[in-house]
Amino acid sequence: AEALQAPRLGRPVDAQEVARWDLSVFPDGRGLPAGRGNAAEGAILFRQHCAACHGAGGRGASAEELAGGTEPLTSPTPDKTIGLYWPYATTVFDFVRRAKPMTAPGTLSADEVYALTAYLLYANGLLGETDEMDARTLPRLRMPNRDGFTGIDATLPPR
């Protein structure tokens, strides 16, 4: 990095303001908000907000399938669904909160995102219908393909 003379025009931002901007949820649960939800609640929300694109039960439609995969990753036609491919459950929360539903992203409440996350995990056979998902339980859920990746241009974080 070159040593460039530059003005220092950045405005200092305090922790509260940062928290309002911050949308990140890390694998260790950092960034998860207060709130809770389960798959039974999530199923209702999914029908309402998601099934139009992802199909009933997340089996795929105009948008990709989210559950129901059967072909293993070693198959010539593998199913890369959440249950079979995704290494971290926290990723579901991070992604649904920021990007979903596509027609009105970032508009779901924390409870709704927990419930939808629980539903997707349930639909992938990783959770019971009434298992509660919250900032404590979600990061603890170990995904089947957790160790399925190899870092190429950067190393993976230690397990």
Partner: protein, 397 residues
Amino acid sequence: TAGSAAAPLQAAAPAVSAGDPSPPWMHAPGRPFTVYGQPSKHEQQVIRRISGNRLLPGNGVSLTPLEELEGIITPTGLHFERHHNGVPDIDPAQHRLLIHGRVKRALSFCVDDLLRYPMRSQLLVLECGGNSNAGWHPEPIQRPVGSFHGLVSCSEWTGVPLSVLLDEAGIEPRTTWAVAEGADAFAMNVSLPVAKLMDDAIVALYQNGERLRPEHGYPLRLIVPGWEGVLNVKWLRRLQLSEQPLMARNETAKYTELLPDGKARMFTFVMEAKSLITSPSHGQHLRGPDVYAISGLAWSGRGRIRRVEVSADGGRSWADATLQDPVLPRCMTRFRAAWKWDGRPTVLKSRATDETGDVQPERSALVAQRGTNGYFHYNAIVSWAVDEEGNVRHVYA
């Protein structure tokens, strides 16, 4: 014409002699000046091809028509697009870049302030990690080169070296990752090693001389030279320094390459050595035996192109193509070669080698190594068959 309509004076009746071959546009004023130019109406077929989602028209790609272009610069209007939920219409006065996390001071930058910082310019290739992925199909796709490989473009990017902003914020020890996030309706996020950001990343404000266009990240985008498109986060709003990657959906579920053994490659950032012949290419026609000017593009995310070889006999023999100056690191290199076609069926190929010695693989070698479910990072040699009628089409050979 528009020119004469606007001119207050009347045109005299033309009195051109019968034998005069001069065309009508030499005999009446042309159209006046324009404040912002556009292509000729005779080139209206030279457009980005859009491939989108039926229910969500802002989700998909548009591809650069490589077969219609020459040189190395991609006109900005034809630079490929990849959006997940459309192009936001960002008011630059309301946009901020927040740098926070493992830094001494969390800082917020407005666009006008960033415009006052020292800048760097660089001519760079930007390639989507999913470019050319039809190459993984069992049958060779029958499409023009731009509709197959057109998720790659080359521009001059100008902006603030990210190291300057990170230095101002002050990175804490043991900070190895940063999460970048966009201000679009997908809130696109990815994790990047801080070392790369400090090395050569820029917060780009200008593309090909002018301020970024909306579809390329206006008012700000991250540029990480040589690394796959998705990491060059558009509409950049937030950079969060961290000791771990986020494991975002776009670095786990997507932009990872599943191998035949069920393991997947993750954090495949560098776009490797690649080349393709744009002329002659799929769908074009050779009029008959003659000398043909082979022209193509080569690039590597690792640095400069050192060599491009061309084969006109399906890979049995190879000859060095001429590399057009300047040959710049992580930039398009135009290569050219003369080829005398004897009228018999044959197969044309090109093969790039970069300054690190990385050689573009044959498709069979790439597939042997990666299988066909990797989806991303397809950089195999491209083959165009020429038949005895001069028709050119994509083949695996």
